[in-house]
Amino acid sequence: MGYAVSPLIPPVLPPEAQPVRSARIEVLAPQQSALADRGEGPAVYMVVAPEASPWYRAALDRISDLTALAVGWNGYDAREIKADMVIDAAAFLAKVAFPGIAPPSITPLADGGVQVEWHRGGLDIEIAFSDDEPGVFIEDRQGSEIELPLTEAVSAIASYWSRLQET
């Protein structure tokens, strides 16, 4: 199944508060070909998804919603959420949203990034899609902490698969 991410002009916002580039994620028909990656301009962005978990579509909606947050959304001086970060987070979820895995939490970051998190099974897993400080941070409450580069995010989730299952 493929999913598309397309640019979307947000509703009226103060000029200083408008996101640089917004994104909306849509479900494509399964027979449509899918591309990967992101870019500039009016192109439609697509990611290849596995047989996705029931929460996957809702998660994409939540990620898309983050691009509507205006400058200062956190009550201080947060930046707008960057469409590139949204697209990267969506592409990551497409690779790990297999049936059975519990839905992650998806939070905006003040630096314009997106964080995908699981807090279950004695694990606290945080995957930061951020220009400033990208990475994978895993705390196993049995006593270990691991930091990994973003390129290892999918394999990290796979290695903790059994502990991230829905109950």
Binding site: R62, D65, S105, P108, H119, E139, T167
Partner: protein, 143 residues
């Protein structure tokens, strides 16, 4: 009026606004928490309790004009124990404004998130997905 260089006592509460999309359900602890990203800024804005009291303001006043945000509190002693400095940096619109300054590693941010206590939690504004997780856990159902 409290001078900008007045010492900050260990037991003083430091307040920070939290956007509803930054609040997540933690199944391990079975409670809502601010996400660790809330505490990422090396110069993190906060509001000092002694200034609020001096101005006869309630902590909730920090949320004036921000009807969806919640409010969390940390103690000055906790953040100092995390190798942070607390500075009084009043701004024209808020004399209680200050900053918690210092490097905040991911592990440290997590400790901040666990130590933060909600002073105001606006559940009606939360991400519905997080509310659903909370209800599934607290009602004894499954997600």
């Amino acid at each position: 009026m409290i001078p900008d260089d007045a010492p900050v006592s260990e037991d003083m509460s430091l307040y920070r606004r939290v956007h509803p999309k930054e609040i997540v359900w933690n199944e391990n602890d079975r409670c809502l928490r601010p996400g660790s990203g809330v505490f990422k800024d090396p110069e993190m804005s906060i509001h000092l309790d002694d200034v609020l009291k001096d101005e006869e303001r309630e902590p909730e006043s920090v949320l004036d004009g921000k009807p969806q945000h919640s409010l969390v509190a940390l103690t000055a002693g906790f953040v100092k124990g995390e190798e942070q400095a607390v500075r009084r940096t009043p701004i024209p619109e808020d004399a209680s404004h200050g900053e918690v300054c210092g490097n905040k590693s991911q592990a440290r941010r997590k400790r901040f998130a666990r130590a933060a206590e909600f002073v105001v939690l606006r559940e009606d504004a939360l991400n519905p997905d997080e509310v659903a997780k909370m209800r599934a856990a607290t009602d004894g159902g499954s997600e």
